[in-house]
């Protein structure tokens, strides 16, 4: 009887904490350009433009985060554009009135007809801006500043719209869970794993009741 009561209480507490944890709302990521902000990897002069090749912008990317430095000056207005291969505008964002450090720029999706293949940042005004990223050898994937190739790539982190709980993100998580793994896995894997885990827990509780009671 004691074991039953102890198990019931302990499992209820765990279930409660799990519900609270899953219900916590926070910004959720929508991908990245796979570059970390380790150093200031790009310097854009006032009225300059940086462009770099990138993979397709996810349709659920509502904001982009960058690390910006201005050496203590106010961050000048910035425009970020995501363009398709034929220079067609896919999405754009405008940053105004920000302080240096990590900044988040809201994005407006213009066209979903073609995937974006490059991102361009234009600095308005006269202030020089440096952007966080990684140093890479000059190559086709490296950044172009005012048309000249530079040895770096800037870091772009994308976020979904607003704050979401894990419950709200579950369909997206199911999709992501099957990506970049063996082709046997797919959208079904996360629900399958959840059911398997539930089965393991039920089996364990049954075993505890049998062996410890």
């Amino acid at each position: 009887m004691r074991v039953r009561v102890a198990l019931a209480i302990a499992l209820s507490v765990v279930a409660g904490v799990l519900v609270v944890d899953m219900s916590g709302r926070a910004p959720r990521t929508a991908g990245s350009d796979h570059v970390s902000a380790l150093i200031f990897a790009a310097a854009i002069p006032g009225d300059g433009t940086l462009c770099q090749a990138m993979g397709a912008l996810s349709a659920d990317a509502a904001r982009v985060q960058m690390v910006i430095g201005t050496y203590g000056r106010p961050v000048p207005p910035l425009v970020i554009r995501f363009e398709a291969e034929n220079a067609e505008l896919v999405a754009r964002g405008l940053l105004t009135g920000a302080r240096e450090g990590p900044v988040t720029i809201p994005l407006t999706h213009i066209s979903a007809a073609r995937p974006s293949t490059r991102a361009c940042i234009h600095v308005n005004g006269n202030t020089k801006v440096v952007i966080g990223g990684e140093g890479v050898p000059v190559s086709a994937g490296a950044e172009l500043v005012n048309g000249r190739q530079r040895p770096g790539r800037i870091s772009l982190l994308y976020f979904r719209s607003g704050n979401e709980s894990w419950w709200q993100l579950l369909p997206t998580l199911s999709t992501r869970f099957g990506l970049a793994k063996t082709p046997i896995f797919g959208d079904w894997t996360l629900p399958f794993v959840a059911l398997m885990l539930l089965g393991v827990w039920m089996g364990t509780v049954r075993l505890l009741l049998r062996e410890l009671s």
Binding site: L18, D21, G31, G55, T182, P183, L207
Partner: protein
């Protein structure tokens, strides 16, 4: 029949001795099979249930953790793939560590931008996945050059076993093979849990609830499962270590016989051929075998010597063969393929040498508070908490994400409470434990050997590279004592409430594992 087959039959027929050997061998095999089956049938149902639970839980972890995100999985997979593809051990040397297939897969997965950067999640969109699959379709060669990596100087047993799922894979897709190979690691983790169950059964035969409790807390331990999730040689080290403790205790209780000597020797041989770290347990094991022999002497000196000799022979011969092959046939740079030499090299790149005093100070400070006469300060935070406890609670991935800080602070408080209860439990069990003091003394020597090996290799790595060496998983060869600690803590509250507390501690372990999984999902997919 092939020519070779015909030749074998002919030679067996021509010489009576050969014919006799071929008839004896199957009967021996049958006897071994019968003994093994009998041993398996002795496992209680609860032990089988713990095994299945541990396997399924580790398999779940293997699906949750993305490919190659288990520490050092890239090098362990590279070793196994080289062995599977060529039938040879990696020759080592300054050539490519991985096959073109693995190297390309790591690049396509953006692996090197994900590890060490918690904000980087890898492939998150269908478009990226499509590009990944297209890039994978070029089918580069799975045969690498076997260049030096952090695991190529390790013995081959784990990797040889991993070639089985590698070749059983229905697809040559590297990620499908990896997924199947991970299942073998999960199986080894389940074996470890079963060995812990049997160890506790041997130690506390009258309290079956203790066996289940101790085994299940390990089965859900998230750091243990994170390693079990991947292709990682530590999994066989953990299994052979747990089996060693089990067999030593069993033999201590039941007496050393040639049969038990063969079993113990085989496990020690498997341990030394799984990872060189296991060698640090050998002095304690040797002491234990001497003790077992002494205990067996009153029943017959000759049979005691014979059983001890069988144990030692079965334990040593396979490793000696491996060492000889390394030197004579494979030319892998010494008897342990450079493994011992790399871990014990005292010369620093700056030109200095690490002294024995420094090594002793370092090893002491790694586990115990620094004493007044110790000059060197190696750690800014006390490693007992920061490395061993916090690491056991969970530093995941390539040590790039962890729980919020309060979890570790509360975990420390919980350990104080459990340690106090375990002390009470130990006092309550004093008669039982002290009757086994000699074998527990040997276990202590084995543990000290492991601590010493970690400290010895740790100071050399830290002073040579500037990076920390120690990780909580290095203590997991002692996982049986993790299970025992929790059982003692549960027993600390007295006979009436002990099973209830045991049940709560198992649920706590399950919750620990569950929230580590949700943390892992948020790290890589959220």
């Amino acid at each position: 029949m092939s020519g070779v087959g015909r030749g074998l039959v002919a030679s067996a027929d021509i010489t009576g001795r050969a014919t006799g050997e071929t008839s004896v061998a199957p009967s021996r095999l049958r006897r071994v099979w019968r003994t093994t089956r009998a041993a398996i049938s002795q496992v209680p149902r609860a032990g089988c249930a713990c095994f299945v639970i541990a396997f399924l839980n580790a398999a779940i972890w293997g699906i949750v953790v993305p490919p190659f995100q288990v520490p050092d999985e890239i090098t362990h997979f590279g070793y196994a793939q080289y062995l599977a593809e060529t039938g040879k051990l990696p020759p080592q040397g300054p050539v490519a560590q991985y096959s073109a297939q693995e190297q390309q897969t790591l690049g396509n997965l953006d692996f090197f931008s994900v590890i060490g950067h918690a904000q980087m999640h890898g492939i998150l969109t269908n478009a990226e996945d499509k590009a990944f699959r297209a890039a994978q379709g070029t089918e580069p060669s799975p045969i690498g050059a076997g260049g030096t990596s952090s695991s190529t100087n390790q013995p081959p047993l784990y990797y040889a076993l991993e070639t089985i799922p590698y070749w059983l894979s229905p697809s040559s897709n590297i990620l499908t093979r990896l997924a199947l190979m991970r299942l073998l690691s999960a199986l080894m983790a389940a074996g470890t849990v079963l060995a812990i169950f049997m160890f506790l059964r041997e130690l506390l035969p009258r309290t079956p609830w203790c066996w289940t409790t101790g085994a299940l807390v390990v089965a859900f331990q998230p750091t243990f499962n994170f390693i079990a999730a991947g292709v990682q040689g530590d999994n066989l080290l953990f299994l052979t270590s747990a089996l060693t403790f089990l067999l030593l205790l069993r033999t201590y209780r039941r007496g050393l016989t040639p049969g038990r000597g063969v079993a113990l020797g085989a496990v020690v041989a498997a341990g030394t051929l799984s990872k060189l770290t296991y060698i640090s347990l050998v002095p304690g094991i040797a002491l234990a075998v001497a003790l077992l022999m002494l205990r067996a002497m009153p029943a017959g000196r000759r049979s005691a010597f014979k059983a001890a000799a069988v144990t030692v022979s079965v334990a040593i011969v396979p490793f000696l063969i491996y060492a000889a092959l390394n030197m004579v046939v494979w030319h892998r740079g010494g008897p342990t393929a450079g493994g011992i030499a790399a871990a014990t090299n005292s010369a620093l790149p700056s030109g200095g040498t690490i002294t024995m005093n420094e090594t002793l100070d370092y090893t002491w400070e790694l586990f115990l508070p620094k004493l007044w006469f110790m000059n060197h300060v190696y750690f800014l935070q006390y490693p007992l908490w920061h490395v061993w406890l916090d690491g056991s609670i969970g530093h995941f991935g390539w040590l790039d994400y962890s729980f919020p800080a309060w979890v570790y602070a509360d975990g420390q408080d919980l350990v104080y409470v459990l340690a106090a209860l375990a002390l009470v439990g130990l006092v309550r069990l004093r008669t039982r434990i002290f009757s086994m003091f000699p074998i527990f003394f040997c276990f202590g020597v084995m543990a000290v050997g492991l601590f010493g090996a970690i400290g010895y290799a740790g100071i050399r790595y830290r002073l040579s590279t500037g990076f920390a060496f120690e990780q909580a998983r290095y203590l997991f060869p002692l996982a049986v004592f993790y299970g025992l600690f929790v059982v003692l803590a549960a027993r600390g509250v007295g006979r009436r409430w002990a099973p209830a507390l045991g049940a709560v501690l198992v649920v706590l372990a399950m919750a620990h594992g569950l929230f580590a999984e949700t943390l892992t999902i948020s790290r890589y997919y959220g």
